[in-house]
Symmetry: C2
Subunit: 329 residues, 2 copies
């Protein structure tokens, strides 16, 4: 007969809070708590390539009423609590990666930038600290590939001196994205809420003297890294297929954005920040069906750190199954 | 219209391996790969307590025919590949924790021991290295609580000098477990395969001069940490409920052992190393039903690092949903 019963467990829990066993004769104290998380990086191989996941952090903000544009807040909260996360909060993670292909050290996206570190009390803006903790010198990065022009992907291009934080890198940007955001007509016609985004794009790339290489979707950008058009979240939003030998990982950027798990589980939900919502949904469904069919490893910028896993069909949508953490490499 | 099609993706993947875009004029090389994983620890709070997960590593061994005693190898392999793990291999993780309750610094279980580090090429035997990386001085540990007497839980009690690696700690062991393994009659009657286990228990505790505190299941061992009888895997196997304020985590040790995910998904499967298999199954089902009903956070010694998550019903068994990684604490 096993001895486990709920009564025992609850009795135990009760005892823990109400009646400590031993009343110490003298005040006792353990070693002080450490209060510091492990460095936010994780490493894995794709064929001969070395991928380093480098998180920028995660934040928790009040859940806006229109966070999901086409679902009532009660349903959104039900989905949030089903993921064991607090209701009425949007919990978002930000996780760029760096790929060493052997011939190029390539950063894909960059994070929210240093400016937000203090403002967020260290919750986000950790990218460059974690990059250094991972043993990667930003000056050794050969190429920075940008997926799209939202601030959480481009702001980390700039260091505290407002210069390129990757001093020796070529910066590659999707041409469709560049044309859209740099167009003065698009900016003047944009709704007020989007003006800040246009201004931020000008701020960041202006600091670089607009010195970027524009790339087309569907092209190999460096040997082993191919861009894939996944338009909708923004007009020129792309993902990146990283392939070495028979191994590969699909780096999905913001195919599911924001609190990504909600849109993986409910691909028909429209994220408030998806710019073309029907196209974003269509891309999301097509993308997920493809990675499910191919059992393809996926790296998600907004998945929880380390953000690498597999997608499975589940209910009316999909589910992320995190890849098993490998304590060695 | 979205541009994403499978044809594009596969074309992209093909191009990546067959036709690199640019043929560099000179031999190029990126910065050298780092080849080193992030330190294997993770930290979270349970009420005012600070929990540090400290992995001993993970290993991959050939899958024995009787790894699951009551299921054919084909079915076991199907379950393994469904978890995106390689067929014909047993992939096992080993993850003890340390709890700082404010009054006591408490290690729960210890890992496979230093002896295996070299032998496993660093795959396992990482516990004391990761403990130091986590900023925890083994000499500051006040109490080591042992769940049961298998080598992967007790061997890390000893340092390289064959003395207690936690020099100032009280070592607490389940009394039922102590009585079973220390009984000469049990040892003489044990099948040959189990003799090594009996000898190892004598080796480890003999090195400590048998200086341990025996504890009963169902008792609070230090304020906030209560033992829970979960017999079956071994005769005296216990789990530990860690509770602070209204927060709690159930530290399940080997309720699901070995390649734990298999036995979570298929609770009726009997792990070869479960000593009383029907009792282990009964405990597993009861335990899982309880943590599902309570939506209780579970820390699993053999779950993949960081080993903390929730259990949900799925199919004919259960599923582990990893808790979201928090990049800060």
């Amino acid at each position: 007969m096993t001895q486990l019963t709920r009564r025992h467990l609850l009795a135990g829990a009760g005892a823990a809070t109400v009646a400590p066993l031993a009343a110490p004769m003298l005040a006792e104290a353990a070693a002080p708590p450490i209060g510091k998380q492990a460095p936010g990086f994780y490493r894995y191989k794709v064929g001969s390539f070395e991928v380093t996941v480098v998180t920028d952090g995660a934040n928790v903000n009040p859940l806006r009423d229109n966070y999901v544009a086409n679902a009532p807040k009660e349903e959104v909260n039900a989905a949030i609590t089903a993921e064991y996360l607090p209701a009425d909060k949007a919990s978002q993670s930000y996780t760029p990666i760096v790929v060493n292909t052997g011939t190029k050290l390539v950063a894909i996206d960059t994070g929210l930038g240093l400016g937000l570190y203090a403002q967020s009390k260290g919750q986000v803006g950790q990218y460059h600290t974690n990059l250094a903790a991972a043993g990667i010198d930003a000056k050794a990065v050969d190429v920075v590939i940008i997926s799209h022009f939202h601030g959480d992907h481009i702001n980390g291009l700039l260091g505290p001196d407002n210069k390129l934080a990757f001093a020796n890198a070529e910066v590659m940007v999707p041409s469709v994205e560049w044309k859209y955001w740099m167009d003065e007509g698009n900016m003047s016609r944009a709704p007020e809420a989007l003006k800040g985004g246009f201004n931020n794009v000008r701020r960041v790339f202006g600091a670089l003297g607009d010195k970027v290489t524009q790339y087309e979707a569907g092209k190999e950008l460096v040997p082993g890294i191919t861009s894939v058009a996944t338009y909708g979240h923004t007009p020129g939003h792309v993902s990146h297929l990283v392939a070495s030998g028979s191994d590969r990982v699909m780096v999905q950027a913001d195919v599911s954005a924001g609190m990504a798990i909600l849109f993986v589980r409910n691909p028909g939900w429209h994220f408030g920040s998806d710019m073309d919502r029907p196209m974003a949904e269509q891309t999301r469904r097509k993308f997920h069906d493809m990675v499910v069919a191919e059992k393809m490893l996926v790296q998600g910028f907004h998945f929880r750190f380390p953000g690498v896993g597999y997608i499975e069909k589940a209910g009316n949508g999909y589910r992320v199954v995190p890849a098993p953490w490998n304590p060695t490499i």
